[in-house]
């Protein structure tokens, strides 16, 4: 373990602190498990944004301060008064005990506990959270964990995750709460945003399951998580339950598929480093030594996407046009090969993919030629 840590620190560069993996990054990683480049860079805690900048293909990512302020203000509002509003929503949607009342005496099942989770460093906070969860499971009361820290093993290195909140119900269930500032209008929110929130929440639920697994008996973790959003055009919170069973199993499987970082690191040439202080040419070489699996979806999820896209285009990979394109072309993966096969200058005519391509090319040429003259049909 220490040898791996040593190795990852070398990859990152001597003076660079590790960038923590968050749930968003994990969800993105799980969406493209075949990408060794992303697995290694994220695992080693390399600042991909700075790396992309150093490579000359900076990412366009960033957060508007308006969104940031709004998000924080909304979360603070939801958690105000010892989380009274938040717990009311949890109780209304998921039950699991009597209606929570802040200020009820200890021992009353309606009482609300909000343990202090402060500790030094992520490891300390994760340990503190695990302890608080263990205590909470025995009390048969409501417990609200505000920004707990959960540890999750990702491809052999620990990732520390910070959900917005975790609630322990008096009946012993654990629930992940995700607070987002996009609105829920007439009970419906933007599908893409809800989807990414669900994938994120699934990562938290997975980490929570690992913590629960260390207890005996293991407390049940709700596979239904609570999404809290502003209602309509107001600042009032409203909530909806998301069933993340599917996302949970997908994430679990994809994270399991991630090639172990050690193996990727071992395959690198001696002395490889992603230290952004190094010259661009050396960095490019280092990045190129780890294979990537670029697809257009990366543009929305990975800081290195523009760099990988240039490479993929330079190599004439058809996947640069979309994963579905790759699917219908069979064994042909390069633009040049596909076009040669379509024009009949290469490829085996008995290959169904080649035959379909020739037919398509013939029909397209015929239609374009016909349109030049009079329009048929």
């Amino acid at each position: 373990m220490t040898a791996l840590r040593q190795r990852l620190a070398e990859l990152r560069g001597p003076a660079v602190p590790a960038k923590a993996l968050d749930a968003r990054a994990l969800a993105a990683l799980a969406a493209n498990p075949g990408c060794r480049r992303r697995a290694l860079l994220d695992g080693a805690g390399v600042d991909k944004s700075a790396l992309a900048q150093a490579l000359g293909s900076p990412s366009g990512f960033g957060q508007s301060q308006f969104a940031f302020v709004r998000g924080n203000a909304f979360e603070a509002k939801v958690k105000a008064d010892g989380g009274a509003e938040l717990l009311r929503l949890v109780h209304a949607h998921l039950g699991g005990g009597p209606e929570p009342t802040t200020g009820a005496p200890d021992g009353d099942p309606a009482a609300v506990r909000t343990p202090d989770l402060a500790a030094a460093g992520p490891e300390g906070r994760a340990a503190r959270t695990a302890l608080a969860l263990r205590e909470a499971s025995g009390t048969r009361a409501w417990t609200l964990l505000d920004h707990p820290m959960l540890a999750l093993d990702v491809a052999g290195s620990p990732a520390f995750l910070e959900p917005d909140a975790v609630v322990v119900h008096p009946d012993g269930h654990w629930t992940v709460v995700e607070i987002k500032s996009f609105p829920m209008i007439d009970g419906a929110a933007d599908a893409a945003k809800v989807g990414s929130a669900a994938r994120q929440a699934a990562v938290y639920a997975l980490a929570l399951q690992q913590v629960a697994g260390h207890l005996d008996p293991a407390p049940p973790v709700h596979h239904r998580v609570l999404l809290v959003c502003p209602k309509d055009f107001s600042n009032q919170p409203t909530a909806a339950v998301m069933d993340v069973r599917k996302q949970l199993s997908v994430t679990k499987r994809q994270l399991g598929r991630l090639t172990r970082i050690e193996d990727i690191a071992d395959a690198l040439p001696e002395g490889t480093t992603f230290d952004v202080e190094r010259p661009a040419a050396e960095l490019t070489e280092a990045v190129e030594s780890v294979p990537a699996a670029y697809a257009p979806e990366c543009l929305a999820a990975c800081e290195l996407a523009f760099h990988c896209r240039e490479r993929a285009r330079g190599d004439g990979e058809v996947t640069a046009l979309g994963r579905s394109v790759r699917g219908e072309l069979g064994a042909l993966t390069a633009v040049e090969d596909v076009l040669a096969a379509a024009r009949g200058t290469a490829g085996d005519p008995d290959d169904p993919a080649v035959a379909a391509l020739r037919r398509a090319a013939g029909l397209r040429a015929e239609a374009l030629a016909a349109a030049g003259g009079d329009t048929a049909c």
């Binding site: 960033g62 969104a67 107001s234 979806e297 543009l299 579905s324 398509a360 397209r364 049909c377």
Partner: protein, 528 residues
């Protein structure tokens, strides 16, 4: 995406230029569209930051909300927007032509024809991208339940007079956007992507600047290079040279330019409110005006490139001849516009938050029919689209090699000629499958009989040959003719009609409630 489409993309990669996906324009474009380029504030639900709007390419109207969190300023913006949009929408209401519509007679329950008005033309809203259509829907939702002081004197924050009406129209436009082939409102990226295949993925095609860079690269550069510049190139101050088409803004713009400008505006406003004498108030008012103007200039600098790009896109699309059947779909848009005009005139309440069961089912059925109709019409209008259908076995073309006269076995025998076609296509013909061809714009149907010894397709023509014993002149293909047959219907119709909303069975929630829905409850922190 069909293989032909993929092939076009690959050709675009190779040539560095977008390749045609259509030989004609499959969407009707109005002679005088209203272009709307909105910007929104990050993190806020439907808090507009500003917009460029208008139907005069040279003189767009700039609307700005200097402090998007201020309700009064937002209302002022929406009132100004109503002033631009509603006169445009209304300008099509007067010019009508008589038309017939079949309606159910409430007394006899029979379908009867009634004479109604149909507007001769309809408004057309053009937004830069799909997100723009969603923003129009959001604005519509945020406005249509608002109450004006005239409607309800007790309402805590009365909306300006025409704002609820604008909300209803924007809602109608956004709802219509869900009907395939409709262009009452259209997103420029979707219009362009329908007609050209670029050498990038469909995900990247959602960037209007990058899409245009492939179709019409400035200075004849390679498309990929021009598109990359449009996506990522920044000036010395770190700002994108080609700002995103909105409504979302670039975070770098928000953080470096907009936030300080809004802060200056807020400071100037506080200072003005605190001013205690005339001269200092004058001075501070000047500062406030300057701060406001600065935000206006910022908003214009981010929307003007998109505005120009949208008009550029319209130019490119107008260069294509309009598809023959696009006019038929536009007529349906005119019906839609006329229908909503009538509902507004009749004083009906705004569209409900959620449709009742019958309305929702009707909408879905109508959209499915529209989708099938659109696919059929595009194929008939365009050999390139037909080629994709031929590739997938849904149509076939070939030369007629033999025509044998035959007759039906009824008392009055009618002509049922057998036509043999030599084709290289591989249609998926089931036994006795029905196929169609276009005969002077009308579909003629035939039945698949079988294959002859040489693999030719034998068809029996079934109709459109006149009433006599001999088929009408030109109604039966002759030897040597090139004919295209389709396995899909040319004018697909929807399923059986649904009950009236009042007759909704209890299994589907029963009849919907009547009357207008209550406005959203107002809180002091409302964003809209």
């Amino acid at each position: 995406m069909s293989l032909i489409h993929t092939l076009a993309r690959l050709e675009a990669v190779e040539s560095g230029r977008a390749q045609p996906l259509a030989m004609v324009r499959h969407r009707h474009l109005a002679a005088r569209p209203l272009v709307f380029v909105p910007l929104t504030t990050a993190g806020e639900a439907g808090a507009p930051l500003g917009a460029l709007v208008g139907s005069d390419r040279e003189r767009p109207r700039l609307l700005v909300v200097p402090q998007p969190r201020d309700r009064d300023l937002r209302f002022a913006f929406l009132a100004d927007l109503a002033e631009e949009v509603l006169p445009y929408v209304d300008s099509f209401a007067e010019d009508t032509e008589p038309a017939e519509q079949s309606k159910t007679d409430p007394e006899t329950g029979k379908r009867v024809k009634v004479e109604v008005e149909l507007c001769a033309d309809a408004p057309q809203l053009i937004v830069p991208s799909r997100a723009g259509v969603d923003f129009v829907r959001l604005l519509g939702r945020s406005m249509r339940f608002r109450r004006t002081a005239e409607q309800d004197p007790d309402t805590p924050y009365p909306a300006p007079a025409r704002v609820p009406l604008l909300g209803r129209w924007l809602t109608h436009f956004a709802e219509r956007a869900r009907v395939p082939g409709s262009t009452l409102i259209a997103a420029m990226t979707e219009l362009l992507a329908r007609h050209w295949a670029t050498g990038q993925s469909s995900l990247e095609d959602q960037h209007l600047g990058a899409l245009l860079a492939w179709i019409d690269p400035p200075g004849g550069d390679a498309g990929a290079e021009a598109a990359r510049r449009a996506e990522t190139a920044r000036d010395a101050g770190g700002q994108l040279l080609c700002p995103p088409a909105g409504p979302a803004t670039d975070p770098a713009f928000d953080n470096k330019l907009l936030a300080p400008a809004i802060e200056r505006y807020d400071r100037a406003r506080t200072a003005l409110a605190a001013a205690d004498d005339g001269p200092s108030a004058d001075h501070r008012l000047a500062e406030l005006t300057a701060a406001e103007r600065e935000i206006g200039a910022l908003v214009e600098s981010r929307t003007r490139p998109t505005w120009d790009a949208v008009w550029h896109g319209l130019d490119l699309l107008n260069d294509l001849p309009e598809g023959e059947r696009a006019a038929e779909r536009w007529t349906r848009d005119r019906w839609s516009y006329t229908g909503h005009r009538d509902r507004v005139l009749a004083g009906e309440p705004p569209q409900p938050r959620r449709d009742d069961a019958v309305t929702a089912a009707n909408k879905l059925a109508a959209r499915e029919t529209a989708q099938a109709r659109l696919e059929a019409q595009e194929a008939l209008d365009d050999p390139l689209v037909m080629a994709a259908r031929r590739l997938s076995g849904e149509a076939f073309a070939g030369e007629v090699t033999e025509v044998v006269m035959a007759y039906s076995e009824s008392k009055r025998p009618s002509p049922r000629p057998l036509v043999t076609l030599r084709t290289d296509d591989g249609p998926h013909l089931a036994e006795r499958a029905k196929v169609y061809r276009s005969l002077a714009g009308k579909p003629q149907s035939a039945q698949f009989v079988g294959y002859d010894e040489e693999g030719g397709v034998v068809l029996r023509i079934m109709d459109k040959m006149g009433r006599g014993k001999e088929p009408d002149e030109g109604s039966v293909p002759e030897k040597g003719d090139q004919v295209t047959w389709t396995l899909f219907e040319h004018a697909p119709r929807g399923g059986p009609s649904l009950p009236e909303p009042e007759d909704t069975p209890w299994t589907h929630g029963g009849p919907p409630g009547t009357g207008a829905e209550a406005p959203d409850p107002v809180t002091s922190e409302d964003t809209l």
